[in-house]
């Protein structure tokens, strides 16, 4: 019986193995279009009040009676169209993928990303709740990835990510609120009334500034902690996090514990999406570069790396600041998505969350971080109807993941864009 199941499973796998990334994206695109036009009436037909917002899980937990309807909905809107379209068009898509392969990699990647963006945009267009979750998930991806550089690729245990986030969030907010908004705390806008398109131009400046400040903050942690190898980074970074939080609580100018609100609404989906893509792209390049390899060498055996002419201290410092920079950018975006920032947000709770996302997704792996961040975020949003028990189920899940896959779901995997985008059928069919 088991053998037969295995066989059946492998047939299903074979059935779908010839589909390139483009095919899956097309399938998802069609699914989202179907949901966009027919979702409402289908939901109505299935006896649901409205379109199930997060793949039906929230509805199922709230109303057990809606379980068959929600299942049917998810099956008909997502599972069926994606699989059928992907399978039917697999030949055509492989042919297209072959064509795209001839283009430079970045061009083909951008084409795929545009398609991905439109899928996400359409999906989020159906509900602002989805939009918010999407933005927060993208930001979580950036945070997780940047911590993975330090905790995964470098193999240290850093606890200061909320601190870097806070630095980025405050710097970016002070930049945008102080310059462009009338605010009770920071007074009149220095540059009042700018057209909204200008916002999208100056906003990156604020974010980069935030990232830079976070990187400088990282230097404060890095200088004492990388003189030696040990677990001192863990407490120095923890102390740093307490210092940053306490510092912002005492800075009356920026609202103190009351926080700073009224950020302009510039963190739109395209902006967050572009930043997230940039983050994934640069971090992936970084860890695949010589520097990244040196970092892995430092992690595995510092003395040996030193002997092989790796400047271990410099490597570690650069990687640490690099991670902090992206955490700062993520923090800036976070503040502008919520349009409010307060020191209390960047405490031990946030730390536990970010750590959980990194280790859930997988160490040393870009794709793992993406899976971890999105998975954790969706899970914690989907299980919200369970109230208190949510925070029992999520930790139990994480412990199980750790026990059965101690380095996370997808650890130690290269994120090879070419490999992902390439056509999946054998040469015979391509010619």
């Amino acid at each position: 019986m088991k053998e037969r199941n295995g066989k059946r499973f492998s047939t299903i796998r074979k059935w779908f193995s010839g589909i390139p990334a483009l095919g899956w994206l097309l399938g998802a695109f069609v699914a989202v279009i179907i949901e966009y036009y027919f979702g409402e009436s289908l939901a109505d037909m299935l006896g649901l009040d409205r379109i199930p917002v997060l793949f039906g899980v929230v509805i199922m937990l709230k109303k057990p009676a809606a379980i068959p309807g929600a299942f049917a909905y998810v099956f008909m809107i997502y599972v069926l169209p994606v699989t059928i379209i992907a399978r039917i068009t697999s030949k055509a898509m492989n042919w297209l993928a072959v064509l795209l392969e001839k283009l430079p990699l970045w061009m083909s990647a951008i084409l795929h990303l545009i398609l991905l963006y439109y899928i996400l945009d359409l999906w989020a267009d159906m509900s602002d709740y989805r939009l918010l979750l999407l933005k927060l998930s993208l930001i979580a991806i950036m945070l997780t990835l940047s911590l993975n550089v330090i905790n995964g690729y470098m193999g240290e245990f850093s606890c200061s990510h909320p601190g870097f986030m806070a630095l980025g969030a405050y710097t970016a907010s002070i930049f945008t609120v102080g310059l462009f908004m009338n605010d009770r705390i920071l007074g009149h806008a220095l540059i009042s009334t700018i057209p909204s398109w200008m916002g999208q131009i100056v906003f990156p400046l604020g974010l980069i500034l935030g990232g830079a400040i976070a990187a400088i903050g990282a230097l404060v942690v890095a200088i004492p902690s990388f003189r030696t190898r040990g677990d001192y980074l863990a407490i120095i970074s923890l102390a740093f996090m307490f210092i940053v939080k306490s510092g912002f609580e005492n800075l009356e100018v920026f609202g103190g514990p009351r926080g700073l609100g009224g950020q302009p609404d510039w963190a739109t989906l395209p902006a967050v999406f572009i930043w997230a893509v940039l983050c994934v792209w640069t971090i992936n390049n970084f860890v695949e570069s010589t520097m990244g390899k040196a970092l892995n060498a430092v992690r595995d055996e510092e003395a040996a790396a030193e002997a092989m002419t790796v400047n271990t201290r410099k490597t570690k410092m650069i990687a640490f600041m690099f991670g902090a920079f992206w955490a700062g950018i993520a923090g800036g975006l976070f503040a502008h998505v919520l349009r409010y920032v307060n020191p209390g947000t960047f405490g031990l709770k946030k730390l536990a969350e970010v750590l959980a996302m990194v280790y859930f997704g997988g160490l040393n792996s870009v794709i793992g971080s993406i899976v971890g961040a999105v998975g954790f975020n969706l899970l914690s949003e989907m299980l919200r109807p369970l109230e208190i028990f949510k925070w029992i189920i999520i930790p139990v899940l994480l412990i199980l993941v750790m026990i059965f896959r101690p380095t996370g779901l997808i650890a130690f995997k290269h994120f090879d864009i070419r490999e992902i985008l390439k056509p999946k059928l054998k040469m015979k069919e391509r010619v």
Binding site: G155, S225, I235, A239, I243, W391, I392, M402, P406
Partner: protein, 307 residues
């Protein structure tokens, strides 16, 4: 001058808690090279268990099953809750750490963190959101000595924690088990080959650490009689800082670092505006670590992650 001595007394009490909790972290860290992030919540659980034991004993006494003086109830509460909480420590080791013995150390730290969250939320789900008042087992008596106010509770807290620390020190240095632990901290590849099983030492380490946390929890309940499910988080993380500040391989170093952290926090408040306490206290920690990167009593070592 009385003001200064008053604060010394205050710091002694506050430092005792950091020291007691830091000991548990340091045991696990020094001997097994692991971070036990569930420790703050084990402390919380210990306090709640102490609450249960004390209430139970008080109930039995008032309903006339037997009669005990209050100080004896206190001693029994401490001993029974230490005993019970040590099983919680063993459970944490069994669930969160043993399956991950060959995994990266950080993964085990995450399971610890998650067990901590389960303990907090489980407590919230079981007992509800109400805060519990720890039964007052001893009447507060305030003594004045030349303008310095000392309560019997403060004396009790400091004495009991010092006593426990001495006992632990003797245990680690004088007994066979303690020797096995110290051996393990040198090398956990070779020592198991000598017939000291890590499957015995690891639970024992967790159990002793948890028992100390429980004692800390009961004393904490006596000194600060408001219990809530999240009470272990902040004090736990700060004690974690103290544990590593002490230096690896030196369990007593952790206790001293715990007292030091208590003193830093209290005296920073004494000298500077109290709003800046965390800022200045942790900046001092940062500076100390810059000059003594292995902590106070730690020796340089290679913390090669088992990745």
């Amino acid at each position: 001058m009385t003001y200064f001595f008053q604060n010394v007394i205050n710091a002694l009490q506050w430092g005792s808690f950091y020291a007691l909790i830091a000991l548990g972290y340091a045991m696990v860290y020094s001997i097994l090279m692991l971070f036990n992030f569930a420790h703050g919540d084990i402390f919380m659980a210990g306090s709640y268990i102490g609450f249960g034991v004390a209430t139970g004993l008080l109930y039995l006494v008032t309903s006339g099953f037997f009669s005990l003086p209050h100080w004896l109830i206190l001693v029994l509460t401490i001993i029974i809750s230490m005993f019970l909480t040590s099983f919680l420590g063993i459970l944490v080791e069994r669930i969160g750490y043993r399956p991950l013995r060959n995994a990266p150390r950080a993964s085990a730290a995450i399971t610890g963190l998650m067990i901590g969250i389960i303990l907090e939320t489980g407590n919230l789900a079981l007992l509800g959101a109400r805060r519990l008042g720890f039964p007052s087992l001893i009447m507060t008596k305030t003594y004045e000595m030349g303008g310095v106010f000392v309560t019997n509770k403060k004396i009790l807290v400091v004495l009991v924690s010092l006593g426990l620390m001495l006992a632990l020190d003797q245990f680690v240095r004088k007994t066979k088990w303690g020797m096995a632990m110290r051996a393990m901290s040198y090398d956990f590849v070779v020592v198991p080959l000598m017939g000291v099983s890590i499957d015995v030492i690891a639970p024992l380490t967790f159990a002793i650490g948890s028992a100390l946390a429980a004692a800390g929890g009961v004393l904490y309940g006596i000194a600060y009689p408001v219990l809530d499910p999240y009470m272990g988080i902040l004090i736990g993380w700060k004690a974690f800082v103290a544990a590593i500040l002490g230096g690896r391989g030196s369990i007593m170093g952790a206790a001293l670092a715990g007292f030091l952290l208590g003193f830093i926090e209290i005296f920073v408040t004494m000298i500077f505006p109290s709003t800046l306490r965390d800022l200045i206290a942790f900046s001092i920690v940062l500076v100390i670590l810059t000059f003594r990167p292995y902590g106070f009593f730690g020796k340089p070592y290679s913390a090669k992650l088992r990745l």
